[in-house]
Amino acid sequence: MPSLSDMNTDEVTKLADIAAAEQTHDAHVTNVETRPAFFEWLCRMGDTTLILGQRLSEWCGHGPALEEDIALTNTALDLIGHTQLWLGLAGEVENEGRSADQLAFLRDAFKFRNVLLVEVPNGDMGVTTMRQFLFDAFHYELLQRLTESSSPRVAEIAAKALKEVSYHVERSTDLVVRLGDGTPESHDRMQQALDILWSYTGDMFVSDGVDATMADAGIAPSPDTLREAWLARVEDVLDEATLKVPDNAFVHTGGKTGKHTEHLGYILSDMQFLQRAYPGASW
């Protein structure tokens, strides 16, 4: 063909197959007993990174400065990458032939298992930055524990993701401190963001039967065991940022069992448009 070599999707598929064949052996992946819980848990992981990645990508081209635009896109890219790994593994565990893409683009909102925090709209950069920090601090604690998972596949993904997330949390921490202790306006916006988001943070630590099965199998820690470390870090950073933890102790929950905010439906109608409008097409 003329002057451009083509990037054949067949070849990409072949490479993916080879890579899959070379996967580390992991007895958890084929364990029928833990299968439903493991699948559910992997969707929680993958859906959370997917929806946050999707939210962040809304900023692409609209950031407050070029450097920030690039950094937000970087984070979005990392999260989309994690999604491919988590949902890819979810499909393997489920063993019904669903790929990461099928899980991402062909499930409806009530089948999504992401935590509520990540679907909260971007708002201004204050909300986006604060949401990122509150999530990164949790994500970091979780991934650190997951590197010791009894599932080698989970540990592998976690180790890869942890490298990126260590940087995410460093960056969002830094921004929260700077903006919190910046101008009166930036301080107020950050405080407002914290007030909006605080009641959505509890959802990350809700622990149910799925988590109990994961914890018993040694695959993943129960999320409630992460809260103390998370809170200690968050309080430290907010204190340095001269921001105040809201008094309101109310907690919105439900994301992990498919009870979402109204926002998720719109995120999905946007994200899934092509797969829904042209069923079975390949892209």
Binding site: G61, L66, D69, L77, L179, S186
Partner: protein
């Protein structure tokens, strides 16, 4: 192209006898292909023209994020989403390199941004066209990045050092972009009839706007001679446009798509394709601000800039406080 119709402030190239000794020495360096660096003496008009050209190019990169950014949240697969995100991010990076190159000429990024927002400076006409379907992500990568490469590859040898070096970095990434765009087109044309139709529709809409990227025809391009003497423009508009057509037509054929030009024909004698000119009145209208998306594109940039002011100010205020605290400690 990314820099269309750049005003050089001169009506023609002056002969060697009309140049001052400084100017003559400067021109001699350019003729010998010795790079001009920021600290070197340069004629005021050279500096001014370069600022216009590099600035317009930089603006094109960041406004150019918008038409493709428009599909990031709707990309059809996780992989396509990641590739598109990375591409749009590259364009922001290109903007950054180019603003830095312009800064070496003594103009800040903020000043350039303000000139973009006030309408004093332009960006490429192509980004005022809408992206209506996913196939447009293919067409933009293939044709728009393709046309950009056509113009920018020669600019790697441009006379101003920082600009030439920025172009070297940028060209590598642009050729990736073009391949990615073409790969989207390949998937579309080998897909369902609906996908193929979408691909043809995208080509129909982007063909003439892509041809416009090279700027007006040589006979209407008043500033070209001086820019070429200064080697900040390496080829004429018509040369580059012809080269683009010659390369692109076989690529379209390979895809099984039809170039929307009934008069397109291979000319044995010239060894070129004969082709129809784009509608130059439309081009002028777009430059004047009446393209389909001028208002949205500039509006989005202004919104991002103004909406981000508190954010930038907050970071600056913190830096100042932190410096004071360090000094006091």
């Amino acid at each position: 192209m990314y820099a269309q119709n750049v005003d050089t402030g001169s009506k023609g190239v002056r002969g060697a006898d009309e140049l001052s000794p400084e100017e003559a020495a400067f021109q001699a360096r350019i003729d010998d292909n010795i790079k001009i660096e920021p600290k070197d003496w340069m004629p005021a008009a050279y500096r001014k023209t370069l600022i216009r050209q590099i600035g317009q190019h930089a603006h094109s990169e960041i406004v150019g994020q918008l038409p493709e950014g428009n599909w990031v949240t709707r990309a059809p697969t996780l992989e396509r989403k990641a590739i598109l995100l990375a591409k749009v991010q590259d364009e922001a990076g290109h903007g950054l390199y180019l603003y830095c190159a312009a800064e070496t000429l003594g103009i800040s990024r903020d000043e350039l941004m303000n000139k973009l927002h006030s309408g004093e400076m332009k960006y490429s006409s192509i980004f005022n066209y809408p992206t209506l379907t996913w196939a447009d992500m293919g067409a933009v990568g293939w044709l728009v990045d393709g046309a950009a490469i056509m113009n920018q590859v020669p600019l790697q040898r441009t006379s101003f050092g920082p600009y030439a070096r920025a172009m070297v970095r940028i060209c590598k990434e642009e050729s990736f972009h073009q391949r990615q765009g073409y790969s989207i087109m390949m998937s579309m044309v080998s897909g369902t009839p609906a996908q193929k139709e979408m691909a043809q529709d995208a080509l129909n809409r982007f063909w003439y706007p892509a041809l416009m990227m090279f700027g007006p025809s040589d006979k209407d391009s008043v500033h070209s001679d001086q820019s070429m003497a200064w080697k900040i423009k390496m080829n004429t508009n018509d040369e580059l446009r012809q080269r683009f057509v010659n390369e692109t037509v076989p690529q379209a054929h390979y895809l099984g798509l039809t170039i929307p030009d009934d008069d397109l024909v291979w000319n044995e004698e010239t060894g070129n394709y004969d082709f129809s000119q784009p509608d130059w009145d439309e081009f002028k209208a777009v430059l004047k601000g009446n393209g389909p998306c001028n208002r949205e594109r500039l509006g989005a940039r202004i919104k991002a800039w103004e909406g981000g002011e508190w954010f930038r100010d907050g970071l600056a205020a913190y830096a100042e406080k932190a410096a004071k605290r360090r000094a006091a400690a």
